[in-house]
Symmetry: C2
Subunit: 418 residues, 2 copies
């Protein structure tokens, strides 16, 4: 029997210039007196977290700041944050200020300071034991300072398990922030390559949600089997289409001139919209591939990020996206073409349309030309495929299920896009 | 200084055929053991509430049913429901099954069984004392059986204060249901005129939200001054536009053939979308006018409703809508025209376009031809205007502020639309 039901949930949202100055009011309304602010050192250096902490304190709320978030969190970095919070707490609300890394770290801290056990108890199977939380979590307010991840809307915390060399996640509806405060003025400090990479993450959220398997094409689930990600559906479509339209208007300009407040506002709105879409529909092949691409990095060091080997999440997602969408084209041609035309009204026809729009954009905004440029070669393909195949939850959301050979072809064709 | 911030909130949503069979699971997940089911006798006669109560009970949750909801609630009917709940409780969750009347009654019961005082303490000023609740409310799950009110998405409970002959409301974010379960199969039992009137309510929600004053055209508010309804904004626009598109495709067919499951599903989706839009943007002149039109009814008895004098809410809203939108046209011509074309791609140009689309539709689906047909005449205009002027919160959301004379002209021109 086919599925007939889809679900939708979202945090409450406060959007606009100045929204971040009001967080103290919102926290007090939630009954908070002692708040843990989670951020990272790079974001702390912009001054936003300290200013927000001061504004919150003015409402009579005590704020403890943890700025040790690791960009691209690991099990070790999350354990450190959890230990800090257990030691400095108890708290009655958590406030994340930063990119996806800070927001995801705050989700893990929220889970492990309110529930017993350790990370592995809650990490997705087969890596972890995938237990649901037994106790209610604290209210989590998320304040994104990059326009990309959509982490403020989602139920997932992404992490590297260092000992296993695997990127995986913890996913449960209880992890979703209760409120997202999106203040575009906070995003003006993003370096150019961060804007480009995080923007590609927005774009792939929208494209993967929009081309995901339709919710009614899955087998019917019992209520106990339902997950937050239920495939493309009429509500997620709405958000994805609108996000694509906003990106078409603002993405190149936000990268070209980071000081363009109008473009920054449109990008912030696009990130929020795409987050609300993929936070309910789900993502598929490009995100599955991004896990091993980021997890097996050797020595690529991107500008504008901490000086260590890393592939920023949005960049990792984008690098196989053109070929992934060439592979999925046949499963839903009209959706791929409609998406391509929302991004570029002059897009062509057929399986090449969307890949061409994507590679043209990636080239314009300074994304590497393919996996080769960030240090991968033919010999890495089997390893990359093995890593992607571990992301069965994501691959099951693809409109067309890729075999091992299909994935290998996608990786191989993604070595040099131009 | 102009406003720069808008807010958005919504209940979690479960949508689709069969969704209502899973409510027990969702209530258990919220920690509920003793639930009050609020409905009315007409809805109870369809068998839906009893079946849902049984399905919930199968999850080990005890269910007490109150079927005494008054269609178009009054202070007296709400007091009766509250007294019942105080007597039969305590409960740890509330489940509303029915139209806007049942859902709004459940909101009032939720407020007054968790908070001290009486209705008048919480009713909007100047009629009541407009206090915010001091205590947290119970989780409220709303299951609409009519496709119209959007009450499952909103923060307001509408009621008649009998002694004052005034329709007013209680509005607070805490009143918003935490979850909406929209199961289109429950709406198949709506009588024809209920489908028509409730559908006009959907349509006016979408049109009024879409033409509401833009959020950034209000004066800047402090966080304490923010209300759930913040004017037209990029998110509410998205919902309103999509709702108009769905109505264009399904409204006439759902009225013509109530057994058309596809049309019913599209109408249920349109009602949900429009509710998510106006639940954040707000409504204006047609809804303000609806209060006195419904509140001062003499002896109009519509088919398919309880046998007593009443003007169904959606009908009351629609009867001055064409003239209201003729009046507001100049404030945002492109929005009025875009809305008209979403409803009918062949719509004309100028201030007549939207009114013509509306009156053609109203005539097709059996809405009365104007205020005269439901018993009002020229002599009633001053009273109707006085009633509308009491709805300052709604009138302030209009894109162009109507004077007493403007409102009188709208009412006068709405006596006979054809």
């Amino acid at each position: 029997m086919s599925e007939t039901v889809f679900t939708y949930a979202s945090p409450a949202l406060k959007f606009g210039a100045g929204a971040a100055a009001e967080i103290g009011h919102d926290l007090v309304r939630m009954g908070a007196r002692r708040v843990l602010l989670v951020t990272d050192r790079g974001v702390a250096a912009t001054g936003h977290p300290a200013r927000i902490a001061e504004q919150v304190a003015a409402y009579g709320v005590s704020v403890t700041t943890y700025d040790g978030t690791h960009v691209e969190p690991t099990d070790a970095s999350l354990d450190e944050a959890i230990a800090f919070a257990r030691d400095a707490g108890p708290f009655d609300a958590i406030l994340a200020v930063g990119g996806g890394s800070s927001i995801d770290t705050a989700k893990a801290v929220n889970l492990l300071t309110t529930n017993p056990g350790e990370l592995m108890d809650y990490i997705n199977a087969p890596v972890g034991r995938a237990q649901p939380p037994s106790q209610p979590l604290l209210p989590l307010v998320a304040v994104p300072t990059t326009t990309g991840t959509g982490a403020e809307s989602t139920t997932i915390c992404v992490l590297d398990v260092l000992s296993l060399h695997v990127k995986t996640g913890i996913s449960h509806p209880a992890l979703r922030p209760v409120m997202a405060v999106v203040d575009p003025t906070l995003t003006m400090t993003q370096p150019t390559l961060v804007t480009a990479a995080a923007g590609m993450d927005i774009l792939c959220h929208a494209l993967e949600s929009y081309t995901a398997r339709w919710y009614a094409d899955f087998a019917a689930k019992t209520p106990e089997q339902r997950v937050p990600y239920c495939g493309a559906n009429p509500i997620a479509d709405l958000w994805s289409e609108k996000a694509l339209g906003l990106l078409a208007g603002a993405f190149r300009e936000a990268v070209r001139d980071g000081g363009d407040a109008g473009a920054r506002e449109q990008m912030a709105l696009a990130a929020t919209f795409a987050g609300l879409g993929f936070g309910n529909a789900g993502v598929h092949i490009p995100h599955a591939n991004a896990y091993p691409i980021a997890g097996r990095v050797r020595d690529y060091r991107p500008e504008g990020y901490p000086d260590e080997p890393m592939v920023p999440h949005g960049m990792a997602v984008s690098l196989t996206a053109p070929e992934a969408f060439r592979f999925t084209f046949d499963a839903a041609p009209e959706r791929h073409l409609h998406a391509a035309r929302l991004l570029d009204p002059s897009a062509g026809d057929g399986p090449d349309a969307l890949p061409t729009v994507l590679t043209t954009l990636m080239r314009d905004i300074g994304i590497p030309s393919g996996l080769a440029e960030i240090g991968y070669g033919e010999a890495d393909v089997p390893d990359l495929v093995a890593g992607a195949l571990q992301q069965q939850r994501l691959l099951a959301t693809a409109p067309r299920s890729p075999t091992e050979e299909d994935l290998a072809a996608v990786f191989r064709r993604s070595m040099e896009h131009w």
